[in-house]
Amino acid sequence: MTVFFITTSLLKIIGMIFVVILPMVSYAVYAERRVSALIQDRVGPNRVGPAGLFQPIADAAKFLFKEDFTPAQVNKFYYWLAPCLAMVPAITTIAVVPFGSTLLGVPMVIADINVGILYVFAIASLGVYGIVLAGWASNSKYPFLGGVRSSSQMISYELSLGLAVIPVFLLVGNLRLTNVVRYQIENGWMIAPFIGDWANLGKWLLAIPMIISFFVFTIAVFAETNRLPFDLPEAEQELAGGYHTEYSSMKFALFFLGEYAAMITGSAIIVTLFFGGWHLPLPSWHGGFHWLVVDGTAPGWRGVVGGLFNIATFFAKVAALLFLFMWVRWTLPRFRYDQLMRLGWLFFFEIALVNIFIVAGILAFIR
């Protein structure tokens, strides 16, 4: 049993990182460039391979062959540590996210631990160290400002991030992310619990605070991953690139990949918490209309197809959210620093806090 567990876990980890996350990161960069181009009435990268699809490979080769320059004035140890710290938390967080039901009886989650979301917050907030250390170790004015901004921004938005998910767990009563998905399969997705149960007034009522919670959480994720309109730590125009100004070659690429990996992880968590994870209800007419739950429990090839379908559903949802990230990035301008702080402390924090009480009130009313 233990040998089987270790083997499958290793396979899942390797598959997740090398088959899913890293290619997804590189193609997210490509997609970002293509989407930005299309939004700005341009074509975007279309030279390398068919429709520019080999562009990420060319980019990676370029990054590997560039000179890895270390400025003389930096603190060497922390300068080397920072890019790793930017990349590692982003990838580590994905471990607790259930990215599929089961495949051949193996649950499609790397670590199904009972502290789920707490683990996510604990690791995700380590991401700030990469940026702060990069800013500080560079021993240069602009990276330092970027690092300082980043730490204050992340701390401010972590509060609303944490408070925004409490309503979800008030409903589920459990921090384990597989249970969150299980609850959503039984009771409808968090964002729209009334689907398929149209007459239930309580669920309509619950949808309102859930949508608010989703908005606050998503915006906090934007701030956590330093995406526009909250990309103050790397504001190109005022900070000349911010915390990664002094970095070159693969170390710079690690910051870049870390940002996109954090985006993917953030999207995966949003999907798990609010959009039913790997669950996609299919309408079925066998013995009257009902929603069919496809998962990997069916025997034989049907189970395998079901499991693969769940995984595909999950990553399709993640991709849709990634598109939202890009869409927002190429629409909205950057906030001013005081506006950012005001928004975090005076609006989102309060909204998330009040939201918890609303959900608690509704739950006391309907349960």
Binding site: L38, I39, D41, R42, V43, L332
Partner: protein
């Protein structure tokens, strides 16, 4: 003197920002949709699509030497173009035409005629100054090479680009 910038008074809908954000998002998605469905004009995809057929008549591309209808290189090696050339891209070594030749009275011909295309600025002064109408700016614009030596157009290359020019100057034709 201080200038007081009046701040516009925003109503609650504008202060909420959300309608403005939604409107902005709709604008960008409209642009994305139009570009995907080819309703927006985008840049010409250069190596695949070319502008060659719509180049205007006065287009100034690479300079070239021409032959006349008697297969004679029109250039008489007067070196006016070499003199006028602002970046000094032209180098001519004149040679003498032997007295037995049909065109002996022309006296000189360019033994070597080099144009350094790294230096050439496509100004067209050589074409303008040439008394023999022997040098023209053609429509070739993609002048490339891996070394500086490759970028020098020698006489053969210049004649190859130029080809044969009909009419205009006929003064060396003894029948006229």
């Amino acid at each position: 003197m201080a200038i007081i910038v009046p701040r516009p008074k925003l109503n609650w809908r504008e202060r909420l920002y959300l309608p403005a954000i939604a409107a902005g998002m709709m604008i960008t998605i409209k642009h994305l949709k139009n570009t995907i469905f080819g309703r927006t004009k985008v840049t010409m995809q250069y190596p695949e699509e070319k502008w060659d057929n719509s180049l205007p008549e006065h287009y100034r591309g690479a300079p070239a030497l021409v032959r006349d209808t008697d297969d004679r290189v029109r250039c008489v090696a007067c070196q006016l173009c070499e003199f006028i050339c602002p970046p000094r891209a032209i180098k001519i070594i004149p040679g003498e035409i032997p007295s037995t030749d049909r065109f002996a009275k022309v006296e000189k011909y360019p033994e070597e005629f080099d144009i350094d295309m790294v230096r050439c600025i496509f100004c067209g002064m050589c074409e303008e100054v040439c008394p023999e109408q022997a040098i023209f700016l053609r429509k070739d614009y993609a002048i490339t090479g891996f070394t500086r030596e490759e970028m020098v157009h020698h006489k053969d290359k210049l004649l190859e680009i130029g080809g044969v020019m009909h009419g205009v100057v006929l003064k060396w034709n003894e029948k006229k």
